[in-house]
């Protein structure tokens, strides 16, 4: 404005305007400002990393479930798988530290993922309350699913850590009897039961969310796609929960049967050239 105040001789201190819709205090560049400070690239990288870590963990768990459920085939099968990871085929002699390394890597990704995902947690009680009220009010499926993902993730934080810590420190104690004893005699089964539900629900929701988040399988009608993805997600959960439960039951049965010899390690029925007992 050019001098209209002076011309009228009216007081120059203009009171604050009664302006609800007035320009916020955010700077505006009416024209494209060339020399703007570039924004950090890290948010993009972290977002991608969150998804990649989640995807890695989810895929790892698919494989993991198949490995662990090899007990359903036979004790030997599981024994073979377990020993496979000790990489005797490479070093000539089982090396449990190899398992520890693998666990270490997974643990690292796990922690990384948890750290990234925690940014999405409600940061205060206020946020927590607002979200849960919102969820109750809206009664909206995808919003509800995220809440579940949040809680399962939260649970994994503890459950997963306990399990991973065990695997990290006692890599050599993986085997049909060793595992069964841990589960039954060591009373790990309640933890595994919870862990199983948490991780399968969290993982399948995570994969579903990944597809939506990045627009995978979008097709022509995204709402239709979403419906199909949700079916896929449910199938995924049900399959792995089923498999996990049966596996856990197998371990429990084995654990009960083996309870009186708890601590005894498994000797494979066929002593091949691979599985040399130490």
């Amino acid at each position: 404005m050019t001098g209209s105040i002076e011309q009228t001789g009216l007081p120059a201190d203009i009171p604050d305007l009664p302006a609800p819709g007035r320009a916020a205090a955010i700077p505006v560049s009416a024209t494209r400002a060339g020399a703007r400070l570039r924004k950090s690239r890290w948010p993009a990288r972290l977002d991608l990393l969150q998804s990649v870590s989640g995807l890695f963990l989810a895929l790892f768990l698919v494989a993991h479930m198949f490995f662990v459920s090899s007990i359903l085939i036979s004790k030997d099968a599981f024994h073979t798988v377990a020993r496979f990871f000790e990489a005797a085929w490479l070093f000539g002699k089982p090396q449990p530290w190899v398992v520890s390394v693998v666990v270490g890597v997974v643990f690292t990704v796990f922690v990384l993922h948890a750290w990234l995902a925690m940014r999405k947690f409600p940061a205060s009680f206020r946020q927590y309350r607002v979200f849960s009220e919102h969820k109750a009010q809206l009664r909206h499926s995808d919003t509800g699913l995220w809440w579940i993902q949040l809680w399962t993730g939260f649970a994994l934080f503890f459950l997963g850590s306990v399990h991973l810590y065990g695997m990290l420190t006692q890599p050599e104690l993986i085997g049909p009897y060793e595992s069964a004893d841990r589960i039954w005699t060591g009373t790990m089964w309640p933890l595994y039961l919870l862990l199983l539900f948490a991780v399968e629900i969290h993982g399948s929701l995570g994969l579903y969310r990944l597809a939506l988040k990045w627009g995978a399988f979008e097709g022509r009608d995204p709402v239709h796609t979403r419906r199909r993805l949700r079916v896929a997600k449910t199938c995924f959960s049900v399959f792995f929960l089923g498999l996990g439960l049966v596996t856990l039951l197998a371990y429990v049965q084995l654990g009960i049967a083996h309870a009186d010899q708890a601590g005894q390690r498994y000797a494979p029925s066929v002593v091949g050239n691979v599985a040399v007992r130490n």
């Binding site: 609800p20 916020a24 955010i26 924004k39 995220w146």
Partner: protein, 242 residues
């Protein structure tokens, strides 16, 4: 056509910050009429029962985006809501997030203006158009695609339907992301992806979205928010990895 009309109870969350009146529920009874919308019902309440009742209707035709409110807990346009699609008790509350003016009236305008300034939602072009010359060409399909994203009426339903935004009010929300998608699609806007990254490349922007999709599901105009946000995320990550 109809048998004896239903008596509706409108349960309205009333308040008046200016008068220091705290939020409380108040019930109003109206007789339902053929084809009654919440606009008609509320107008009747105001004329007969509660002359001080505040709400915002402008076009009363689902065009202007003024009348967003929580109808039985869900964000929607009250002018397009037929009472017959609801039970005999209908709860009405103002949209959250936005500054409350009173009763069902909230200041969406201020929020939207803030968003427009923050995201610079206008065509950025260095060239001054020559108005007497034949206009630059554009593919017909592209023009229609831009219009598809331009149809947002700034009603704020997606804002109220987003749990992320409710937790973190600095989040731009689906409406903001859709605006960026609209201008990004428009060849007349000379901004690059790097420029857009500066606007939405963080956790208050596209990376803050947790894909809750409430936005998509409540948008009264049926905007393709789900796909647009995913698309932008891919583009912005691409910038981040450069």
């Amino acid at each position: 056509m109809s048998t004896s009309p239903r008596i509706l109870t409108l349960r309205v969350l009333r308040s008046s910050p200016v008068e220091g009146e705290a939020p409380h529920w108040e019930d109003f009874r109206v007789e339902e009429a053929e084809g009654m919308t919440l606009f008609l019902a509320l107008t009747e309440v105001r004329e007969r029962l509660a002359p001080s009742l505040q709400f915002d209707f402008v076009c009363r035709a689902g065009i202007c985006g003024s009348c967003g409110m929580l109808i039985d807990g869900k964000p929607g346009l009250a002018c397009c809501a037929l009472t017959r699609d609801h039970g005999t008790t209908i709860t009405l509350a103002p949209l959250p997030v936005f500054e409350l003016i009173g009763d069902l009236s909230v200041n969406t305008g201020k929020w939207m203006r803030g968003t427009a300034e923050r995201l610079e939602t206008w065509i950025h072009s260095a060239a001054k158009p020559d108005l007497t010359a034949v206009e630059p060409r554009m593919e017909p399909e592209l023009a229609e695609a831009i219009y598809e994203l331009d149809r947002c009426i700034e009603c704020g339903c997606c804002v109220a339907g987003c749990g992320t935004l409710r937790m973190r009010e600095e989040f731009v929300g689906a409406i903001g992301l859709n605006k960026i998608a609209r201008f990004r699609l428009d060849p007349r806007d000379e901004r690059s992806d790097e420029d857009f990254y500066d606007l939405i490349g963080d956790d208050t922007g596209v990376f803050g979205c947790m894909s809750l999709l409430g936005c998509h599901d409540v948008c009264p105009k049926g905007l393709p928010l789900q796909t647009q946000i995913a698309f932008l995320r891919r583009k912005m990550v691409a910038v981040g990895l450069k």
